[in-house]
Point group: C2
Chain length 392, copies 2
């Protein structure tokens, strides 16, 4: 097969707010080769990611992502890795390239899986896929009472693990944060898993983060996620030496395998969280899963958008039995729900299964998404470099 076409569809809710909810828009990627299509999804900033695919070249190692993808041979996983290496080299100085290629790479795996009639996790070398315990990703409430109620609703829906984050956590007093943590623990009961996401709020201020450790330990929080800027490994490393039962988590900001490895080696995280929509797709995420296993660190997906992205993010560690939990977007916007025609719903045990079906195992019904479509047109020097295709 040859890669014949790569199409991007920028979808968004009618109103995109400032809340920390990544499901408000999406960039769907459709790759066509050999009479088949594969689907993927870039995690962030649709317009900028499209621009990185079509931009005119600046020089030999600042080429558009398209230059390394269109027309390339695609006969199997080795071609996907070869194309990824081309992108890394030819788009070295194009910062956004990793985010753009992430969605393209997913689509390449989906397409190769369909061509071979195999799920992606089998193509990655896993003989079995193990179910995961989903945790609900929720924003903290405005008040501890609101946090309590949000937690109770998630428990009522069957979640045994909840992650709260953002929405002012870490910005006010230590006492305020403690009140929210105790409310979250109360909602979960004694046995539930409580996870906390600080959303980089302390940048690299180790003391500010350490001030929250007593309440995190008292509420038996499993992990404290992203206390610092994604590359502040020294701060991660310093805080990790001061924790008791709570472990540090991070990695969603990794846009290459190196960054994830550094968080493990220099940052001392206990959980490494990878978003396939940012790190360059499924193969680099699998490399991180292998590395984490060798280092005794638990791999977890990062997913806050659609079930297409969820399936892609489960593939890299589907066969790792000891990595039990997965992030599960618990309250996504309707757009994210509508992207796939079926969904990865928890079974009777409350566990989620990665599809045992070719490729990513989910169908996209593009025509039904047209109400979310934001057509893009980009021209440079009078030449139209990108014009969205119709979604019929």
């Amino acid at each position: 097969m040859r890669i014949e076409a790569v199409d991007f569809f920028y979808l968004a809710m009618p109103e995109v707010t400032l809340e920390a909810d990544g499901s408000q828009d999406a960039l769907l990627v459709r790759v066509a080769a050999g009479g088949l299509v594969g689907w993927g999804e870039c995690e962030a900033s649709p317009l900028v990611s499209i621009a990185a695919f079509v931009t005119p070249r600046s020089h030999g190692v600042c080429q558009p992502v398209a230059a390394s993808v269109l027309g390339e041979r695609l006969d199997g996983p080795e071609d996907i890795r070869r194309i990824a290496a081309l992108v890394e080299r030819n788009s070295m100085d194009l910062l956004q390239a990793a985010h753009t290629f992430s969605g393209v790479e997913m689509a390449l795996w989906d397409l190769v899986g369909k061509a071979r009639g195999e799920p992606v996790w089998k193509l990655l070398g896993y003989p079995h896929a193990f179910p995961k315990v989903p945790y609900a990703s929720l924003l903290f409430g405005d008040t501890p009472q609101a946090t309590l109620e949000a937690g109770r609703q998630a428990v009522a829906r069957g979640f045994r693990a909840i992650k709260f984050g953002w929405a002012g956590f870490g910005e006010g007093s230590v006492a305020r944060d403690a009140d929210h943590l105790h409310a979250a623990r109360e909602a979960l009961g004694l046995d539930g898993h409580l996870l906390v996401d600080a959303g980089q709020i302390w940048v690299e201020d180790v003391e500010a983060a350490a001030a929250r450790l007593p309440a995190l330990e008292a509420t038996r929080t499993t992990w404290l996620e992203e206390p610092f800027q994604a590359s502040a490994y020294e701060a991660y490393g310093a805080l990790s030496k001061r924790t008791g039962s709570v472990k540090l988590a991070g990695g969603e900001g990794a846009h290459n395998v190196h960054m994830a490895r550094h968080l493990i080696d220099f940052g001392g995280v206990g959980f490494v969280q990878i978003d396939c929509g940012r790190i360059g797709g499924i193969a680099p995420a699998k490399a991180v899963a292998d590395y984490a296993a060798a280092k005794g660190v638990t791999y977890v997906n990062h997913t806050f958008t659609s079930h297409l992205a969820l399936s892609a993010s489960l593939q890299p560690y589907a066969g790792v039995e000891q990595s039990r939990i997965c992030e599960y977007p618990a309250a996504p916007k309707q757009l994210a729900v509508d992207i796939t025609t079926s969904h990865l719903l928890p079974d009777g045990n409350g566990e989620v299964h990665v599809p045992d079906a070719p490729g990513l195992g989910l169908d996209v019904n593009l025509a039904s998404l047209s109400r979310y479509h934001r057509p893009v047109e980009i021209s440079v020097g009078g030449d139209i470099l990108f014009r969205s295709k119709a979604m019929a």
Copy 2:
């Protein structure tokens, strides 16, 4: 003052080739506030950097760069730092943001310097600016003879230091690379400084890089630059332990202060090379210069484009007397020459002086650049988000 407008001008040579020459295009940034204008320049991928300024928001921490800049107060250096922190927070998930803001930040310093009648290096706290010994940045020739001749031409122009790089170095045999290195040394004579740029060619293959060390040591090369991918700190660290007189250099890929610090702390580089057009501008570069000085590492600018970018890249270490050399684009494309009306030419001693004039100390004659202009238009959902202004 309030920031009233930020305009971008995408300039390019008529033909942009695949050679590793970053002077083939440019993204000029003009900021207006309080009746003054400041100028800056983003280093890479003009279209993508423009898109990151104007893109619709995706969520609270994936906002366009414009959201943190337009309308902000700009009364002094503290406002520049405050705005930078806003960008880092509000555009956390927008990968290209650092490259976009780099040019904006330079322009903010230029503007504040003009408002105060002070050169930027004084605003950064340096009482004196010391001249630098420029090194010519050249690509290796196709043959050792071509490398020899290119080197001799630079020496004839007065350069006492030359950096050769790219153009096949590291891709062929060890013997071929050795031939080019000896040709370069022959051109320079016994006393000249020879620097070598491998352009990430070995990705993270330490042995491939180590195989070139004997020839690098034999030709008394001062540094080996970017042997590996910008974030491959482990590979840098491993190679740095095996070198003799030659030191490792790197840092141009740093798009935040953390990355530069990691190259020093984990990568063991002897020279840290910062491009103000990528790292987020002048203030983060100054932070790296301070950090390098404390660690006994030599700071060097990375500049392969115009003299506007050169002035910006000299400011952060203008006052560091012991950092003697600077990168100096020796054979830029005419576009890069034409961006400024005057140039930082070596004096009688062959040394370059950062301007002792307000701001960045150079004028841009926009009207004269109109022949290079590539007007950009971007629309999303039928709304025009960006349309280049005329350059009259």
